[in-house]
């Protein structure tokens, strides 16, 4: 069989915004699944110990949680087609318990899978062009991107093409599959940070150089977890054609020198902190200079071979689209409210992007039922060219909605509880699975998130409070970003009982990126909810005109907030 005769059938239209698989990609996945099948077999017949098997199961996205096995499926650069989303609904319904959990790293987790069924699940996922490869383990993880890629007005290049290149390149990388620790990469095609670029092992933004050519600004050594660190710029003018060579140089230095004996010191951030960024940069440049750059160059041929497998959105001019939307907004208050909070401008004047909030009051943040997935897949097909994006804040986006059709879409979304008008507001809480699922957790996080959401469920109150983000984590690993949220809640363990610490003043994005400060001693679940109520009331009293929570906090400093929570106690 000739692996290179894969120019795809021109009759089948390609899914937009993402790379469409060809024969080679399908065959590769089959080989991978067969390998995992045989690893499971060797585990069951005793040839592999759990210690030997674990890295392989992790590299296939299978975790053991408290109550069951969890399977993490990658959604590369956050783009799904309707077909893929239906595939996820199928897995949720027939192999899990009817729902899935979207994470902050553009993955979806199924919490109730069985190891013995995983190969069958993987086979089904492969048929809809999804996989779980490297969603865990000490390797290069799912490459994430900007949820407004291909939509945003400030975009310089389409980051998804490069994200796909990195996805392929990192897949079973012979040199980098046994790194000291996990390795996370995110990329945006804009110079405005929408991806929290300073908090990845490698974060990439795109800028224009003096010749007006796109270049990458590369951040390294950021991360959250036990030791949160803001990344540093290692290079601000990397020509895109050298992306892979430069990444290999960065990761090779890390693979050789990162700590192997202390789990908490093994991320690249610690190595860079120890060596200093200038020293690290010097080593990377030395490696880079020694490499045969032609071997790595992203030539026009390579770019074309990737790009031609991406479906392109067919955007049309729609007479009076803006006027129609304006009219709908005037006529319907609730719709207007939703558009205010849950939309994002599109570069095409007749289109708009819309954020589907997965933060329903009373529900688990980030969870979506199989029925909702199927419904949204249909709606995406009808109203957004069959494409759905996953955000890094556990919401979804329909990227290409005609302005004149937004109203009908909203009506349909409402039927499935998918039109919650709270994006960016206090109830749009980012929340990890916490102790209800996670084997590493100290305390539950979902219960906290739900309680805060119900406390502030009045939309007028939410609007009055204004933009504010909360992250709730069950442990210091910070999967829900509590370190870099305006308000972070962190679960701690005191003799087997749940307590919570509050952090204030965190900010996720480049210009003001800040790791929050601890407010004071840990509180019980009830106390923490009361504390947040007090904090918000205090802010509402103290705020000056046009201030958001974070502005008031930065102006006043932490002490008055501390007093409000701890004085009476």
């Amino acid at each position: 069989m000739n692996h290179f005769s894969h120019i795809s059938d021109s009759n089948t239209s390609k899914a937009i915004g993402r790379y469409n698989y060809n024969d080679v990609d399908f065959e590769f996945l089959t080989e991978r699944i067969n390998q995992f099948r045989s690893q499971i077999k060797r585990r069951l017949n005793g040839e592999l110990t759990e210690d030997e098997f674990k890295p392989f199961r992790l590299m296939n996205g299978v975790y053991l949680q408290l109550n069951s096995y969890m399977l993490r499926v990658a959604i590369p650069y956050g783009t799904l087609s309707s077909k893929m989303l239906r595939g996820l609904a199928y897995i949720a319904r027939y192999y899990d318990r009817g729902y899935g959990h979207f994470t902050t790293r553009q993955n979806i987790q199924f919490h109730w899978t069985k190891l013995e069924e995983v190969p069958d699940i993987l086979t089904y996922l492969a048929s809809v062009e999804l996989h779980t490869i490297q969603t865990s383990g000490n390797c290069i993880r799912n490459i994430t991107s900007d949820e407004f890629a291909g939509v945003a007005q400030d975009e310089i290049l389409d980051p998804r093409i490069y994200a796909e290149i990195m996805r392929q390149w990192s897949t079973l990388h012979p040199e980098f599959s046994f790194l000291p620790r996990k390795f996370k990469i995110a990329i945006s095609g804009s110079s405005n940070d929408r991806i929290a670029v300073c908090f990845y092992d490698i974060g990439i933004l795109t800028c224009l150089n003096k010749q007006n050519k796109p270049v990458f600004e590369i951040w390294v050594g950021g991360g959250l977890g036990r030791i949160p660190i803001k990344g540093k710029i290692i290079r601000n003018d990397l020509p895109p054609e050298h992306l892979l060579a430069y990444l290999e140089a960065i990761i090779r230095v890390y693979n050789l020198h990162g700590s192997r004996n202390n789990l908490y010191k093994s991320r690249i951030k610690i190595l860079i902190e120890n060596l200093g960024i200038d020293n690290y940069r010097e080593q990377v440049e030395k490696e880079f200079q020694a490499m045969d750059l032609d071997q790595y160059r992203l030539s026009n041929d390579i770019m074309t071979s990737i790009q031609e497998n991406f479906g392109q959105p067919n955007l049309v001019d729609v007479p009076n689209a803006s006027e129609t939307l304006k009219k709908h907004r005037q006529e319907n208050q609730a719709f207007n409210q939703w558009v205010n909070h849950n939309s994002y401008p599109h570069f095409h004047k007749d289109y708009i992007a819309t954020i589907i909030s997965l933060k329903n009051i009373g529900e688990t943040p980030g969870d979506m039922t199989a029925d909702q997935m199927d419904a949204l897949a249909d709606l995406a097909e009808e109203y957004s060219l069959g494409e759905i994006r996953v955000t890094h804040l556990q919401n979804l986006v329909l990227g290409h909605v005609r302005k004149d059709q937004l109203y009908v879409l909203w009506q349909a979304l409402q039927k499935h509880h998918l039109a919650v008008p709270n994006q960016g507001l206090i109830t749009d809480i980012v929340c990890c699975p916490g102790l209800d699922y996670c084997a590493l957790a100290n305390a539950r996080s979902i219960s906290i998130a739900k309680k805060i959401m119900s406390l502030f469920q009045d939309i007028h109150l939410q609007e009055k409070i204004g933009p504010l983000n909360i992250g709730v984590d069950g442990c210091i690993n910070s999967c829900a970003h509590h370190h870099i949220m305006n308000i972070g809640v962190l679960g701690v363990n005191k003799k087997g009982e749940e307590f919570y610490q509050i952090k204030l003043g965190g900010f996720s994005y480049k210009n003001n990126a800040t790791i929050g400060s601890i407010l004071g001693a840990a509180l019980t679940m009830e106390e923490v909810i009361e504390a947040i109520r007090k904090l918000i009331n205090f802010y509402l009293e103290q705020r000056q005109k046009n201030e958001y929570f974070i502005d008031t906090f930065n102006r006043l400093g932490i002490n008055p907030f501390k007093e409000i929570v701890y004085a009476s106690a």
């Binding site: 290179f4 080989e31 067969n34 000490n138 012979p174 599959s177 090779r252 192997r260």
Partner: protein, 161 residues
């Protein structure tokens, strides 16, 4: 221990010497790097020579000995410690070493193609092992997506292994 090459068990003529130098060397000696570095005049040696090189040193240290070396053995303290993958690659690409590159320590069959693609040619494996696993894994994947020492035919990013 068994020695594996291209998925087949082969004879291993090499003898590893780690502690101190004997008065006369065996025909095919692999010296630990610390012994090798004490040879004050390695130019005098006129026989095949190998080195067992630790995973926490810079491969540049091998430069002075390169012309004399027919074999470099690298170490995987556990299969999860991937430093030798990068060392192998640097030895092939930066030092342009063309002799035998041997993997020692703990490696698993599932890592076989990773090893060959970064430049290893032979692997030491325990006697009690399922050779069929190694054979199967030697050519399990027919597709790869990265540059490799083996310079496989490519189309776009895809290589036919």
């Amino acid at each position: 221990m068994l020695l594996l090459k291209d998925g087949e068990v082969i004879d291993n003529p090499w003898v590893t010497i780690e502690d101190h130098l004997p008065t006369s060397l065996p025909e095919y000696p692999i010296l630990s790097y610390s012994l090798l570095s004490t040879l004050d005049d390695n130019d005098k040696i006129n026989q095949p020579l190998g080195v067992l090189f630790p995973c926490d040193l810079d491969i540049e240290l091998l430069n002075p000995f390169l012309k004399k070396l027919s074999l470099i053995a690298l170490i995987f303290p556990t299969f999860k410690d991937g430093r030798a993958f990068s060392q192998a690659r640097q030895i092939r690409e930066h030092l342009k070493f063309t002799g035998e590159l041997r993997a020692t320590g703990q490696v698993l069959p599932d890592q076989y193609q990773f090893l060959t693609r970064v430049g290893f040619t032979t692997i030491m494996i325990p006697e009690i092992t399922n050779i069929e696993n190694w054979k199967e894994n030697h050519h399990h994947f027919t597709i790869g997506f990265q540059n490799s020492i083996l310079k496989e035919a490519r189309h776009g990013l895809v290589r036919k292994l």
